[in-house]
């Protein structure tokens, strides 16, 4: 059985500014096998973060279904967990208690939650920082906590919303490798949204390329690079050819829309 199935997802909403209807996503259909790592790339404002919100159950689709393990999704559930774009750590909670927050929401008792959080702190490489507060952590470390918090609920499906977008280039590379290491130990199914094409290729089994306004699947690309991936692969000619190919898809399929409206559209829909 497929781990995740998206069936003809459409999303429209009325624009507060123009009063008209904006179509954000049209007939988006794809599926993920268990243990698969799939990325979604596309130009900004193409609705990729919105798609993630729909799959998480935060936002209802106008039409279409999301199925996880064959069951239709209508609200957030413990089978899915989101790693947010900004780390969104609670500043008044230590690393340990930021991680247990997700477990508290699911009524896991305190001792078990703490034990699990301690294990995860080790897994994401934050030994010794259990009692640190978010302001004491670097951006990369905050994203490690963000990842650990999502993993804590032992989700079937990990949804990642441009988690490394705010990091500097070096830290991002480190975090990509770290993510692959964690993925290989936990065997999670991952849906990873990014606007960085090289990141998508490096991490994924398949890359879903979305076009913009309305967001539609332009193509699903299979990089076919061997695993485990190494940073060196980013310099292979095949890798560059893949970047060229996806870049071409993103460029040609993106109509020349008003960029201001684009940005507003994505914010409106993602904010719900």
């Amino acid at each position: 059985m497929k781990k995740l199935e998206a069936r003809e997802i459409c999303l429209s909403y009325s624009s507060e500014r123009t009063g008209g209807t904006i179509e954000a996503l049209r007939d988006v259909s794809f599926s993920l096998d268990p243990g698969e790592f799939v990325s979604v790339v596309g130009p900004s404002g193409c609705g990729k973060s919105t798609l993630l919100s729909i799959i998480d159950g935060l936002l209802p689709a106008t039409s279409g279904d999301v199925l996880v393990d064959g069951k239709v999704v209508s609200a957030p559930g413990r089978d899915r967990a989101m790693v947010f774009q900004e780390a969104s750590l609670l500043p008044w909670r230590s690393v340990l208690h930021n991680i247990t927050f997700s477990l508290e929401c699911h009524h896991v008792n305190g001792r078990e939650a703490k034990e699990r959080a301690v294990d995860l702190i080790r897994l994401v490489g934050l030994d010794g920082f259990a009692d640190a507060y978010p302001y004491e952590l670097s951006g990369g470390m905050q994203q490690r906590v963000n990842l650990a918090r999502a993993l804590a609920v032992a989700p079937e499906l990990l949804l990642m919303d441009e988690p490394f977008a705010a990091l500097d280039a070096q830290t991002r590379e480190v975090m990509q490798s770290e993510l692959l290491r964690v993925w290989e130990t936990t065997h999670k199914t991952v849906l990873f949204v990014t606007h960085q094409i090289d990141e998508a290729i490096y991490l994924s089994d398949r890359v879903i390329v979305l076009s913009s306004r309305p967001g539609r699947i332009a193509e699903i690309v299979t990089p076919g690079l061997p695993r485990p991936r190494t940073i060196g692969m980013k310099h292979l000619p095949e890798f560059h050819a893949l970047i060229e190919k996806i870049w071409g898809l993103v460029q040609t399929k993106a109509p020349a829309a008003n960029p201001a409206e684009d940005a507003q559209g994505s914010r409106h829909s993602a904010g719900r």
């Binding site: 989101m82 947010f84 609670l90 508290e104 929401c105 920082f129 640190a132 004491e136 670097s138």
Partner: protein, 269 residues
Amino acid sequence: MSVQNPAITTPWSPGLFRSSQRALIGFLSVATGLLIWEAVIRLKLVSPLFLSSPSAIFEAFWELTSSGELQTHAWVSFREFAVGLSLAILFGLPISILAGWSKRLGWVLQPLVSGVYAAPTVALFPLIIIFLGIGFWDKVLLVFVSGFLQLFIAITAGIRATDERWVRLARSFGASQSKLFWSIILPGALPFIMLGIRLAFGRSLVNVVVAEMLAAEQGLGYMIAYYGNTFKIANVFVALGVVAVLGVIFDQIFLLAERRLFRWRPPVS
């Protein structure tokens, strides 16, 4: 990847040196001010009738405390203040939190509060006297009203300023409404709640003194008005000094409490 270590304070660390240096400079500044003041009076540059001198004020303080007069008045003011502010917090805290949390309750209360808040609360005092007469409860009510308004304004704003990302996070993890309230909304608004209490405190202290100056037979405000009218300037300064010291002491307690509550915030140097 590095972590900014919280400052480690050993007896000889620069941090401690700096803070003791700061205290010393502050002390010297006050002492110099007092000396200049004393000198100005001794050299008869200003008549002691208008501006008493530190030595005369100290003498007056001694007299007023040994007769017990100062303590009696201070105790009266303190009781009015403490009862009024406690009631303001007791009612203001839950009502403001609810008004920030529930949109509809906010719509009901917000215009009422804004209307009253726009007027200086002391202006309500004549009205309050008509209701309650001159005594203890009229001051309590004035303090209650001003404290309540201050809390309401700060706390409702704080609750409404809750970061959307945190709400989204809680929803994504399937948090219940009560979990959202206790783990996101309330801790997020805590700095505003503390600020509200601190502002309410300052307003209440001022209002007690002003109310006693307007209509009272006891209290520090009464002392200030009475001795001012009888040109006993030293006694006025004693009463003023007690008010100021009370304000400073409570402010320090607040700062200490904030430092303990908000250890999660980056330290401000």
